[in-house]
């Protein structure tokens, strides 16, 4: 087996992948190309061990990536929306990381959704207050001109 046949190029982004990779390391495209099928159709011999990992390109595990923790948005809304809801979002951001680190992917995803929700709550309330304030300021100017 030559070195090049250990590798397949991603049909979507042309990145070079190991032939036994399930998904493309660069774009996440599932790799079930013809190369992989011919490799599995070879009748003789034990299945070859996975190629050694070159130091310049570490192997990517195929398990699910960490859900987004929306930490930046929670910091932004905490510092600019003047509402404690942003801080709730930071708590959930921390829980995304701790739950993912402990292997509980479903709980991490749940915390991720809550982090996003609370960042939006903070932003939404800040926006609503701004709009109401703007309407009242506008009315005050209009009424002041009428007098």
């Amino acid at each position: 087996m030559t070195q090049s046949s250990d590798r397949i190029s991603c049909p979507k982004c042309q990145a070079s992948n190991f032939a036994n990779s399930a998904v493309c390391w660069q774009c996440g495209q599932p790799l079930s190309g013809p190369d992989a099928q011919t490799a599995s159709n070879q009748p003789v011999g034990p299945t070859p061990p996975p190629p050694p990992t070159p130091s310049f390109e570490p192997a990517r595990p195929t398990y699910a990536a960490k859900p987004q923790n929306y930490l930046v948005w929670s910091i932004l809304t905490t510092l600019f929306c003047c509402l404690p809801a942003g801080i709730v979002s930071i708590v959930y951001a921390a829980q995304v990381d701790s739950r993912y680190a402990s292997g509980d992917y479903a709980a991490a995803l749940d915390a991720s959704n809550k982090a996003r929700t609370w960042a939006w709550v903070s932003f939404g309330v800040g926006l609503a207050v701004s709009l109401i304030y703007g309407v009242f300021a506008f009315l005050a100017v209009v009424i002041g001109n009428m007098k």
Binding site: T78, I87, S98, S130, A137
Partner: protein, 144 residues
């Protein structure tokens, strides 16, 4: 593991570009407004928490600090909201990362990636919230 979470599919890059343009436009509009109109004079919506309780929240003074910063007055900015000024490099890095995601399809490496660091940040913000409401000399520097 971390690098895999930073990679998005090619089709998602287009929506990331729309997102990046929207975020960039909104940020520039907001910064332009804050540069032109000084929040110290008024005319901006009040902080809900401050209006209801009379206490300062962690974000109080951040718009006034941004105005000072945009005019090059770093010390005045630190006087209004030191935490916000210190967090700006983090936010700026996140903005660059978002831009990188839109242009190259890859975000920059995540600086904060473990729960303990986020809990530290949470603790700092909570302590800041309490301490800047104490009207004694060294702590009163934290108030806007």
């Amino acid at each position: 593991m971390m690098a895999a979470s930073l990679v998005v599919s090619v089709s998602a890059v287009r929506s990331e570009r729309v997102r990046a343009v929207g975020i960039l436009a909104a940020t520039l509009c907001a910064l332009g407004l804050i540069y032109v109109r000084n929040p110290s004079i008024g005319g901006y919506p009040p902080c809900v928490f401050h209006a209801v309780t009379g206490l300062y929240c962690p974000g109080c003074g951040s718009l006034r600090a941004l105005h000072q910063l945009l005019h090059g007055h770093l010390l005045a900015a630190l006087d209004f909201n030191p935490l916000m000024v210190l967090m700006l490099p983090v936010l700026g890095y996140a903005g660059l990362s978002q831009l990188s995601l839109a242009v190259r399809g890859r975000a920059l490496p995540e600086p904060v990636s473990c729960a303990r660091q986020i809990w530290w940040l949470f603790g700092i913000i909570m302590a800041y919230w309490v301490l800047r409401n104490i009207p004694a000399y060294p702590l009163s520097l934290l108030a806007p």
